[in-house]
Amino acid sequence: MSATTSRRRFLQAAALTAASLPMLRGSVARAGNPVAPLRLILLWSPFHNPQPFYHPQVSASDSSLAPAGTNFYLGFQNSILAPLAPFQSDLIIVRGLGYGTKPGSHASGPEVFTGSTVSGTTSAATMDPAASSTASSIDQYLHGRMAQASSQSPFFGGFFSYLYSDHCYDSDICFSGGNPVPMVSNPQALYNQLFSGFTPPSSTGPSQAQLSQASRRQQTLGLVQKYLTSYQNQLPTSSVSTTVLQSHLSAAQALSAQIGASLVPSTVACTPPGASAIFNDPNPDNGSYVAADAPKDMASFIQTIALALACDITRFGALKMSAEEDPSQALVNLMPGLTNFSGNWHGDVTHNTTGEASNSYDVQMAQFKNYFMTQVASLLAALKSYADPYAPGQTLYDNTVVLIGSEGPVQSVGTDLHGNGTNDFPFVIAGGCGRYFKMGQFMLAGGSTAPSVNHNLLLTNIINTFETNQQQFNPSYTPNIINQFGDFGFSQSPTDWLST
């Protein structure tokens, strides 16, 4: 069964430990500063990024264009990433990452944050509209490893896109053990999910009752692990049951790690405002998509997410910044700054074959993607507006990793510029990232052309950074430094390249 097999692979990957991998903390790590927990926000938007408008530029004749500490600049005409210019010193823009040998753009959603093969039809030409993953996404994995006390599961908000039945652009991006995580498309529902029943965690450290509970649970988990291992030892290593038991063992280890994390005192004192302060859309969607409300809803999502991190309700989540391309719903027409459009967005824009920079459709696509980057900038600004309760003098922004993924590879100029390739998918890391990474980089992960380094490398680096951070944040934490994340078919040994 494919689900079982993939879970097995995932769990095997999760269980791997590497004894002496290099520390990922970069050369600019904050020596002497208080260690705050890292947070992770995954962002996703559909469709390709026109290459000339996506890549940062560097002017040899005028290096002053590149801000200090960076090697690129974003302020040029039709630049997709221009809205992120104020945060340029905290960006890593990565080229050269590919999704293994898998079917490419159509499968981007389920693959991007799982690093794993999609299930269902895997031919690009016949991609199952309900293409799914059989693994776990990075947010779910990390939450399972290091959720704090009283933590909620990772949030997942956003919009769907693309109704056409022969594509999967409306497919899921977040998965837990092979199960799609339901997306909350109504921002007010997301607010209610996060804040209903919310009480600020204690700032006085664990009580004796909590310590006793943790002790009992750890003792029980120790026995569980002992006897799971005993069963494993009675079976051949190739046995399916051995894999089943390994899954159980990994889950027990993760739960044990969470218990350890739960004993760390919280310093959060948060009083969330009422919903009326969050929702500027007077008529938030109630399950049915209303294109005209999308920009307002996006703003509400961003405010809700930032507040959730500020109140330490969870430290992991995702936002799908999709949008409807069906002309009958015409969200593309509503986006600020986007030229009114009445044609076939899919056929004319995303698959146009008539060239790059001179093509007006590519400009429209750049505007479309640029809109999403304005939302990313809004999120980064919101994170900067909240103090980090665990690190005096710092903001949430300083200790948050924002990972931005997109469907559609950026390909070299040629015919069918935006075909469903598998190479050179655009990724951007934003936020302070706890200074674990060397920010302000435009990186070529696999060379300037025809890469690629599999994007599992990126996911693995981020996971290991969180594991390392957790150890420093919580001295009792035992990190699970892994060699790879997701499908073995995407395998890459981790390096510390994000910090160098």
Binding site: M1, A3, T4, A125, S176, T220, Y231, Q234, V244, S247
Partner: protein, 595 residues
């Protein structure tokens, strides 16, 4: 909500795919043995000559396949039943809080389909602690009243409290379904002391100690997994004989969904599960219990995916949740009657000319009025157009939730009643990545059958005939199981044929030659049901389903285990449902495992 045309298109794409299987059934998740057994079987000492004596096997050569040594998770129902059996706690924590099981090989309780990931791990911890908290005081009372001892108020880790040890032994033996080892006793006493030294709030330290033992026991692998490993000291034999306690658990959970009772455990302890006759006797005792009846009903409903009506068939169209629930009750009652009071044959399940209805369901089905609000057995005449499981709402609605009902129903019957899968694209002359054309809802006045018949031609028909023509026989029933003579303004035509390819892979059921076939025509649903009931593939297929369900793995029709299971009892022409389970538990495949 997807539009109707889209559903049709997807369904046709699935069907025209002509490869693989459909729905949640037919997964390859089962472990399956690799034929590692010697083929001689019957390795047990036995006055009856040992297991696996052939049981009247009539077919020719067969494959000697054993399930692999393994651990097998408790299903949610089994977890809850086990908790209830030991503690009397009927709060059903697992069914309320655990994620649903992965369905594999058609059945929800399937060996190795379930994987404990973090969400289930957390739920198990919470459930165990909840059950422990709710029963701690009762457990302390049980110690004094039943075990007849008093717990020390000052227990020592170095010198274990005898009463606490007695309690641990009693409960662990019951939950592990076997005697516990000295090492396990030591570990659980450490849990007792942990609960004493780090007490739960609101209870005494002694009660907390007991509570912590319960919470620990319910998370232990020895409780959550039933093992099929054989003796730890047996490291060489092949195939491997399961221990008597493993046999007891396998038998009890399979037959009743419950842990072994005291009688069965006593038999295991006394070595009285070592012959086919002894196991058969225990089977007959257990299947006669309410749990035995209920489990038989669940098996048959999962076989035909009829249980799916509970999850998806209650919100659409005219089908109210009440009517959907009535359909479930109808089918459960019908199975109970056919299996335990009727002939007990698979044939009766398909052709039984009676059903159970209340007033609402009779009206919904357009059957003669029934005055009672409670379910009553009613005869079905030819005019009703109904007879047997395939004409009941539980099947018809469940089989209509995916794609074009006409096609999906036919596909299900081909897969689950005949154990055959459709030919590959390549065998029909298509490219391997062939994309089927889309199918759109027909215009008014045209039935789906008429539209499909016009659209599906040539090599497409070579595949479609194997399921589409079966589906024709159910055209009198709409997606909601109501009887219809017109569909979309066109006249319904329920005639069709059951095709049989001259070349089918016996191991996989794959139709190898779609072009060369024989067929049996029928005029309506009654004819279809009768044709299926008399098809020799049905009994063989059903036996493979019995083995798949009971052994928690896929089972090909050419396996010896299947042929042994299918064997008819003396004087009968075909085995009953109960008879097939009796055959299986007496076969060597029930208690031997591949190393």
């Amino acid at each position: 909500m997807m539009s109707r045309p889209f559903i049709l298109a997807v369904a046709l794409a699935q069907a025209v795919g002509c490869e693989g299987v459909i729905g949640g059934n037919g997964s390859t998740g089962g472990s399956g043995g690799s034929g590692a057994g010697s083929g001689t079987g019957g390795t047990l000492s036995s006055t009856d000559g040992g297991f696996g004596t052939g049981l009247g096997r009539s077919s020719g050569p067969c494959n000697d396949v054993y399930a692999a040594r393994r651990v097998w998770t408790l299903s949610r129902t089994e977890y809850d039943n086990s908790v209830a059996a030991v503690f009397g706690d009927t709060s059903n924590q697992a069914q309320a809080t655990f994620p649903p099981e992965d369905r594999a090989n058609g059945y929800v309780d399937n060996a190795q389909a379930e994987v404990v990931a973090s969400p289930l791990m957390s739920a198990m911890e919470t459930a165990a602690e909840t059950i422990a908290a709710n029963n701690a005081t009762k457990e302390v009372a049980y110690i004094s009243s039943t075990l007849g001892c008093t717990l020390s108020t000052n227990p020592s880790a170095a010198s274990p409290d005898a009463c606490a040890t007695k309690y641990i032994t009693a409960r662990a033996t019951a939950l592990f379904r076997r005697p516990i080892t000295s090492g396990e006793t030591t570990d659980l006493y450490a849990s007792y002391m942990e609960g004493f030294q780090n007490p739960f709030t609101g209870v005494s330290a002694v009660t907390s100690a007991v509570q912590n033992v319960v919470a620990t026991l319910l998370q232990m692998p020895q409780f959550f997994y039933r093992t099929e490993l054989g003796s730890p000291t047996d490291t060489t034999s092949s195939p491997v004989q399961m221990t008597p306690y493993e046999v007891a658990s396998a038998l009890s959970y399979m037959v009743t969904g419950n842990p072994p009772d005291a009688t069965l455990l006593a038999a295991a302890s006394a070595g009285a599960l070592s012959t086919p006759a002894q196991v058969k006797s225990q089977y007959q005792r257990l299947v006669a219990t309410p749990g035995g009846h209920s489990q038989a009903e669940q098996f048959i409903m999962q076989w035909l995916e009829e249980d799916q009506i509970a999850s998806g068939g209650t919100a659409a169209g005219p089908l109210t949740p009440t009517i959907a629930g009535d359909m479930l009750t109808e089918t459960e009652s019908f199975i109970e009657e056919a299996v335990f009071n009727g002939s007990g044959t698979v044939s009766e399940l398909l052709t039984g000319n009676y059903t159970f209805t209340n007033a609402d369901l009779a009206t919904y089905y357009s059957l003669p009025a029934v005055s009672s609000a409670t379910f009553t057995k009613v005869p079905l005449d030819a005019a009703s157009g109904r007879a047997g499981l395939l004409s009941q709402g539980a099947f018809l609605v469940s089989a209509s939730q995916s794609g074009v009902p006409l096609l999906h129903r036919g596909h299900l019957i081909r897969n689950y009643l005949l154990c055959e899968t459709l030919p590959t694209f390549v065998s029909l002359g298509f490219a391997a990545n062939f994309t089927p054309p889309q199918f759109h809802e027909p215009p008014a006045g045209t039935t789906i059958r008429q539209a499909l018949t016009a659209a599906v031609q040539g090599p497409c028909l070579s595949c479609h005939q194997y399921f589409m023509d079966i589906g024709f026989g159910l055209e009198n029933f709409d997606s909601f199981a109501r009887y219809q003579t017109k569909e979309n303004g066109g006249a319904v035509n329920p005639s069709g044929a059951v095709y049989e390819s001259t070349s089918v892979d016996p191991a996989s059921g794959l139709i190898l030659d779609a072009i060369s076939f024989t067929d049996v025509a029928f005029q309506n649903y009654a004819g279809l049901a009768s044709t299926l009931a008399s098809d020799p593939r049905l009994d063989q297929c059903f036996a493979s389903q019995v083995v798949a369900y009971a052994a928690g793995r896929t089972a090909a029709v050419n396996e010896c285990a299947v042929q042994d299971t299918q064997a008819a009892q003396a004087g009968a022409t075909s085995a009953t449902v109960q008879g097939q389970f009796e055959n299986y538990v007496q076969s060597k495949y029930f208690s031997l495992r591949a190393r």
